[in-house]
Amino acid sequence: MLAAIAIMALIAVFLGAVLGYASIRFKVEGDPLVDKIDALLPQTQCGQCGYPGCRPYAEAIAKGEADINLCPPGGEEGVAKLADLLGREAKPLDAEERPPQVARIDENICIGCTLCIQACPVDAIVGAAKQMHTVVASVCTGCELCLPSCPVECISMQPIPESIDTWKWKYPVVQLQEATRKAA
């Protein structure tokens, strides 16, 4: 009887030690769920969700504080992807979906105040004090954060037109009309 209790206690102590060691040895730094959510967000860093950047929004979603339908640049498809990852119900977007756009500085009006350079989350504006600024279109995310910072309102958002390189084949449409006409 005593021997049995001793053996059980020993096993318990041993397994406890193993578990304790494992929790230190294989400790997961950070929250992997946040990374997964962050990977699905479009990284425009626009703050339209009400959080200061995509990662804080991802953290809020992971904690359950924020809804998954607050990201306008991600669109309905982004909501669907988040719903898929989190096993939640997909919801309609809580804002208008926004077509891709890029900021453009009217170089005749720009006074070179550098305020927009400080506001840009991805360093897509180049220029110096009292020198004309310009937007590097290839890295601009179209987040609109530079718009309110400009004292002379020389920044405008331009929609990015479709080009041959970015054109997508449309989903093949079943020609119902023709089919019914044939049948008639």
Binding site: P42, Q45, E162, I164, K168
Partner: protein, 556 residues
């Protein structure tokens, strides 16, 4: 005759393939004609795979025939030349021969009709190194004329790891209606053989095979005669007519039995494939200094006079097809063959390096597709797929927008040959679904890349801001510490005296410093004077003394 069309070497088979009716006789009755000069050329800058060439001319410039107007942007990029002499009217967006009907940057040239060549310096071939030849071929804008328009110089470097075995010159031309390669082989066989010899010199293969589908006996005879005349040890191999035997991967399979695996290049298997027209153009470029400015285009379909023409790049489609006298019931122009081509959304678009065939479309010739019916999974598409894919599965996933699964079923191995859609008993436009899925996946990859870039840049900015903040704080702390130390030292010095005396001492010290500074300050322009200037000053001072004016320095 039949025995001559049999190949001596053992040939292999690829899976599937279809036998669409050829309709090739109608456009081979006339020799290749030279298209008349159009009034105006629209030369798109981006005509090949790879980077978009940079424009080198401005509106108003006069350009000569063969003058470089678009410079290569990187190694896998080609160049663009003026097809004839004239004035650049504009560099503007113009509609392209592309299924989207979208526009791209093009050089618009008003043709002056003088056909004035720019300098052509045919180099001495024997003195060129392989690298020189590759550069020459890039500078001449030579790209694959079979339809894929891959820059040819990029394919001319043998793999370092695998010995080059088979060089294939592709005269397959398996698409129905198309006869441009057939005619070029009949009429310009010697040029093709000499071009193939240039490729051979660069690649050093064990064998050179010129493969021609056995429905072109005239071309086979012409090529055999040319090989003999030039005296090259090339082998002209008739291959069985089977669509798509003219696709590079399938042709290599037929000739060598080698199967090019997923996402590998045929060079890794010691095989490389070039179109016959590409070989001809390379010969013109290397031995005559003529860049690629025109190509042979088949004009056929619902026309009165189907034939092949040599047309300058930039000729509008509508002007070119008019040469073949399209019949009144023509309701569109197919660009490319009936299997892989597309209806031109706008016939004002120009012909480009990839345009091998224009087919006048009519409802009689190409009856409208029967309505799409549900897939019954009969598997006929998998039986004909030359790439050993399962089109019915790909279709299922593409239709459901399940792109990950479609990629698992090797969507990107699809060569879009159209065999599956050709045999589909439910009339499903299968290739359209695959193109849709491919372009969606590409778009997602672009978005993902952009998001990753934005994330990296955002994090970099955050790090930089933190670092700057820390540096500023450190600097401030240092300055504050220095100030405090100084104060402490002063306090220690004057600590014995009462604060009133300390204040007075400080004021006195400040006054002293100011005095010293004033004394040290001298008029800057009175140093290092010449003797003459010194004398002049002395005279002025003397006059001032006489007049009773104080010296400015002594007055202060």
């Amino acid at each position: 005759m039949m025995s001559k069309l049999k190949s001596d070497r053992p040939l292999y088979r690829f899976n599937g393939g279809v036998h669409p009716p050829g309709y090739k006789e109608q456009s081979t009755r006339e020799p290749i004609a030279i298209a008349p000069l159009p009034q105006r050329l629209i030369v798109p800058l981006h005509q090949s795979i790879g980077g978009t060439p940079r424009p080198l001319v401005k509106p108003g410039d006069r350009v000569l025939k063969g003058q470089l107007i678009g410079a290569a942007d990187g190694w896998i990029s080609s160049t663009v030349h003026a097809p004839t002499s004239g004035i650049v009217r504009d560099i503007a967006l113009h509609v392209q021969p592309h299924p989207s009907g979208l526009s791209a940057l093009s050089v618009l040239i008003d043709v002056d009709g003088k056909e004035e060549w720019s300098e052509r310096n045919p180099p001495d071939y024997a003195s060129l190194t392989p690298d020189d030849i590759r550069r020459l071929i890039q500078q001449a804008g030579i790209v694959g004329l079979g339809g894929a328009v891959f820059p040819t110089h990029g394919k001319l470097t043998p793999s370092a790891k695998f010995p080059m075995e088979d060089l294939v010159i592709n005269g397959g031309e398996c698409e129905p209606y198309m006869t441009c390669d057939d005619m070029i082989m009949r009429e310009r066989a010697e040029g093709i053989v000499r071009g193939a010899a240039i490729f051979r010199d660069l690649m050093q293969p064990k064998r050179v095979m010129i493969a021609i589908e056995d429905n072109k006996p005239e071309a086979i005879a012409a090529m055999r005669a040319a090989v003999q005349a030039v005296g090259e040890p090339f082998e002209v191999v008739p291959v069985p007519t089977l669509y798509p035997a003219g696709c590079a991967k399938q042709l290599i399979r037929v000739l060598t039995g080698k199967e090019v695996p997923v996402s590998r290049r045929s060079t890794d298997l010691g095989a490389q494939c070039f179109n016959v027209a590409t070989a001809y153009s390379a010969w013109r470029a290397v031995c005559f200094g003529e860049p690629m400015i025109s190509r042979v285009v088949t004009l056929t379909g619902n026309v009165g006079r189907a034939h092949n023409v040599e047309a300058l790049f930039g000729t509008p489609i509508e002007e070119l097809i008019a040469l073949a006298e399209p019949k009144p019931d023509t309701d569109g122009i197919l660009v490319g063959g009936p299997m892989m081509g597309f209806l031109a959304p706008d016939t004002a678009a120009p012909i480009v390096k990839s345009t091998n065939c224009l087919i006048a479309h009519s409802p009689d010739l190409f009856p409208p597709r029967a309505p799409e019916m549900p897939c019954i999974r009969c598997g006929e598409c998998a039986r004909v797929c030359p790439q050993d894919l399962q089109p019915y599965e790909l279709y299922r996933f593409a239709r459901a927008r399940n792109f990950g699964k479609a990629q698992e079923y090797h969507l990107f191995d699809c060569i879009e040959c159209g065999s599956c859609a050709y045999v589909c008993s439910s009339h499903i436009p299968l290739v359209h679904y695959f193109l849709f899925a491919k372009s969606e996946i590409w778009a997602r990859e672009r978005e993902k890349k952009a998001a990753d870039q934005a994330r990296d840049r955002f994090q970099a900015k955050q790090k930089r801001e933190e670092r700057e903040k820390a540096e500023k704080a450190e600097k401030l702390a240092k300055a504050a510490a220095a100030q405090a130390a100084k104060k402490a030292a002063e306090a220690a010095n004057l600590g014995a005296l009462d604060p009133e005396a300390a204040k007075k001492a400080a004021i006195a010290a400040a006054q002293e410093r100011a005095q010293a500074q004033r004394a040290a300050a001298q008029p800057k322009n009175t140093e290092a004077l010449t003797a003459g200037q010194q004398q002049e000053i002395a005279e002025i001072d003397a006059r001032r003394a006489q007049a009773g004016v104080d010296h400015p320095e002594s007055s202060s």
